[in-house]
Symmetry: C2
Subunit: 203 residues, 2 copies
DNA sequence: CTGGATACTGAACAGATGAACAGTATGCTC
DNA sequence: GAGCATACTGTTCATCTGTTCAGTATCCAG
């Protein structure tokens, strides 16, 4: 669909977008050693016709990728050290850090309520979740065998949810721990959607 | 540290950056109903002094957030359906899809060689990795009990690496599978760094 | 009440920028 | 070889843009 030259120009534009802002017409011309800005203009017109970029006339550095090439719209996901008892998560969001990521990559809808949590302890090492890992959670209904952040006795823990005969239990993923925690007053705060496991020393 | 007005201007700039490119000086002035672009310039100077933004003189729409406010610099990570036998990953990169994410969030250095892989099969369900999940891998040295993408007989699989008495084995995380795969000619392609587990129906 | 930081107005300028018009060259298809 | 899309050069123009200089107003601290 795109010619080799068009693809190169598209790549250059994407490069610029990823590092901050789109290149200007003359910056593109300089990079490809075009003597005339019009060479760029006509390329941009073609790219726009083919539907891979979008622009608004007249505004400088105004190129956006369209379709599958689009640079993802980042979501800022609140990174909570530990969820407090109250759960009005919204209150906490402004204070802490944020994790920027592309919701589409995580299979999250644009409207999904999402937060992140630093995992503590070693009760989930069997599921590949180690102390210090960051866990992405979505506020949604939990299913059997989902890993969930749950509130027990005012403290929030990460465990696997087991639903048997209509009863819910929490299961640690580490032989060192009791297998099933009876979960009365079980409050599911979020369902596991992703894991960020930085390269650090493990035992 | 920042005054209320400075914070508002910083927020407006971030808004612009997130949706494509920084606002121009006069766009900022218009938004805040400043009659003079100089009002903006002096604000920008202050913001730059306080270290929350960075600019290069003369270039239009050239505002970047600095420090903790920084909009993350996305990395485009190649998403490989399955790693082919040859492993010159660079060759494959151009073809497929890309996953955009913030390397810092994944504990990846800016220079880390990274790729993503769609997990297939159910051999790692015990580690929370299901069929269809996306796994982020870093090309680096593997340690004992790391989850790795490894090449065996020309096919690439995801397994846990077990190093015992100087010998390396691969272990599936599912009781259905043989526990230890003797790994002669073991080629580690990448080490597990992250997991994207979209919200889809599981068994 | 004085000084300094903040928060502006107003005017002006050089260079950057998107866009248009006119024209050339090349390769491909029918 | 006629027609057409692509891929440019070269020039000009109005507008946008960052920046500077000069000046005013407000508020808070010493």
């Amino acid at each position: 669909m795109l010619t080799a030259k068009q693809q190169k120009i598209l790549d250059f534009i994407r490069e610029g977008l990823v590092r901050g802002s789109a290149p200007s017409v003359r910056e593109i011309a300089r990079h490809f050693r075009f003597a005339s800005p019009n060479a760029v203009i006509s390329h941009l017109r073609l790219l726009e016709q083919k539907g891979v970029i979008r622009r608004q006339a007249g505004r400088s550095r105004n190129i956006q990728l369209a379709g599958g090439n689009a640079v993802p719209s980042l979501r800022a996901i609140p990174l909570l050290g530990a969820i407090p008892a109250g759960l009005p998560v919204e209150e906490q969001e402004r204070a802490g850090e944020f994790l920027h990521l592309d919701p589409a990559a995580f299979g999250l809808s644009a409207t999904a309520r999402t937060f992140a949590l630093k995992a503590r302890g070693d009760s989930m090492t069997g599921a590949g979740i180690y102390d210090g890992d960051t866990v992405i959670l979505e506020v949604t209904e939990a299913r059997h065998r989902d890993i969930v952040a749950a509130l027990i006795d005012g403290a929030s823990t990460l465990k696997r949810l087991i639903i048997q005969n209509g009863e819910s239990f929490l299961k640690a993923e580490n032989p060192k721990y009791e297998d099933l925690l009876p979960a009365r007053e079980l409050l599911i705060q979020g369902v596991f959607r992703g894991l960020l496991s930085p390269n650090r020393q493990r035992l």
